[in-house]
């Protein structure tokens, strides 16, 4: 029986706990605090919570100003707005200045669902990854979300963290599994191929690996929670040890995890590779599960991709 938990609920709760122990933590939101769960922080610490209204660009630069005065700033909204709408502000006010601002967004990817294409961030990892100084993280589950948020408070500098709208399958049994920003985790050993996944696709990769095992294929699974800085060493090691790679992400196949892994492999250790993710297209309204199936983001899609990559070995 798979357990589900919400990454954004966890974010909201952890933020309150961090707020209790560190008076320097300030939280900003852009009229989505009920959805992003920063409202919990706002309720307990009204003085240190600023709802900037529907003004994401203003929010990002304001966050930089607060950070310039020593604050640890969390700025939250939906992924589409926190990345795309305010990209220039993130680039100049936050990243160029290496400000201590943590952009934690929810509603990443196509599982945002019924709101449709305008609200489904399928390009955010690509455009955030392109910005110098920026750390980009997609936690694989709620437990990892807590690790990410607590680690970010200790590590100075800008970061972009993408969470989900839905409750997602829990992969990690406890918080003690050696989480470290920038270090991928081998969740399951395997010798024939490596599935490198991020976010909710880590779960689907585990299911795919089980399916492949039934056919005698030993598929390694890597949880690549940090897209940037990418764990290049682990990517190269997996390519060399298993000879083929599939990437899986709830994001466009352009520029995200697949893009980042391809860049490393092509320059260091080229092996057959297939990217599972949104094709170069917009999504649409629908139930998240239906959308994942329609746009090829399920474990059977990963199985198919793995077989295709292995054929080219």
């Amino acid at each position: 029986m798979v357990e589900f938990a919400s990454t954004r609920d966890t974010y909201g709760k952890v933020l309150v706990e961090i707020g209790r122990s560190d008076r320097n933590v300030v939280v900003l939101d852009a009229d989505l605090s009920v959805s992003t769960k920063t409202c919990l922080f706002g309720k307990e610490f009204p003085d240190r919570f600023f709802d900037m209204g529907v003004a994401e660009q203003d929010m990002m630069s304001t966050a930089a100003g607060l950070a310039a005065c020593g604050k640890i700033v969390f700025a939250s909204t939906f992924a589409v707005f926190g990345s795309g709408r305010a990209w220039d502000q993130v680039r100049i006010s936050i990243a160029y200045t290496r400000s201590n601002v943590k952009i934690v967004v929810t509603h990443g990817g196509i599982t945002t669902g019924e709101d449709g294409a305008t609200h489904q961030a399928n390009e955010d990892l690509a455009i955030m990854r392109a910005i110098p100084n920026m750390t980009v993280i997609v936690p694989s589950d709620a437990i990892e979300t807590e690790n990410v948020i607590r680690n970010l408070v200790k590590e100075y500098g800008p970061a972009y963290v993408r969470l989900s709208r839905l409750s997602t399958p829990v992969i990690n049994q406890s918080r003690e599994y050696g989480f470290k920003i920038g270090k991928g985790i081998i969740l399951k050993p395997g010798n024939d191929i490596t599935i490198i996944a991020t976010g909710i696709m880590v779960y689907h990769a585990m299911v795919a690996s089980d399916e492949l095992a039934k056919e005698g294929i030993s598929a390694r699974v890597v949880n690549m929670h940090t897209i940037k800085p990418l764990d290049r060493q682990l990517v190269i090691q997996c390519a060399q040890e298993t000879g083929a790679v599939v990437t899986a992400e709830e994001h466009s196949i352009i520029g995200g995890l697949g893009g980042a892994v391809a860049e490393v492999l092509v320059e260091n250790s080229p092996v057959p590779m297939v990217r599972v993710g949104m094709k170069d297209m917009f999504g649409e309204s629908g139930a998240p599960k239906e959308l994942l199936e329609k746009y090829g983001l399920t474990s059977p899609d990963i199985v198919k991709a793995a077989k295709s990559a292995m054929k080219r070995k």
């Binding site: 300030v26 600023f50 930089a64 100003g65 200045t97």
Partner: protein, 275 residues
Amino acid sequence: MQMEKKIKELEEKAKVVRRHIVEMIGRCGSGHPGGSLSAADILTVLYFHKMRHNPGLPKWEERDRFVLSKGHAAPVLYAVLAEAGYFPKSYLKTLRQIGSSLQGHVDMLSLPGIEMSTGSLGQGFSAANGMALAARLDKKNYRVYVMVGDGESQEGQIWEAAMTAGHYKLDNLTVIVDHNKYQIDGKVEEIKGIQPIADKWRAFRFNVIDGMNGHDIKAIIKALDEAERHKGKPTVIVAETVKGKGVSFMENRPKDFHGKAPTKEEVLKALEELI
């Protein structure tokens, strides 16, 4: 009498600042002289009279902050910071050169005294709001000054930020609009008019000081003092300025000298006027 002497000193200082601006832009062959010269008197008053700051301790927590939201006017800020002693004046010779701390648009990580990196218009104002909010959180008395351009006022973010400052009643914030009437493509009112400026700011819940002569030291001091005294609302000072102020041929051709450096001959001519 004391005040008259002070004003005279500030006028002289502004002239030195203008000389730096013309020389450094002339030397490197690119930059924005017009909008730097229009802001010279205001920045001179801020850094040599109004603001509490310590060039020896650029990160002093109690300092007043100045954010140049119109980041392309970098030379005027470099000139006052060098004159104030934040870094050696010899640095001014390196403007826009590779490896220099004096970037084309100000970079807070490369030079002491720069409070926020700007250049993409609209962002500095929001950042200044963040600093004013931080002062309130930390119960500190410092003030935050931010200069925005009139062309910059066409940016949507300026009005997002104005709404924030008004909503949060940031009376520790003073906004100064450098109303020099020109932008790159021509006259602001012809490109995309921003009038009525004062009414706009009033509608955004600001205390408005309108029509200040941005080249009259006494008027600048008076307006900044008045802004500081006003409680319960942020204050905006609409400074009436002249693009290229202090250099006759730039004043006469403001559009040409928005983003164009003077030639060697023009630099010499300008310096003659700035004695």
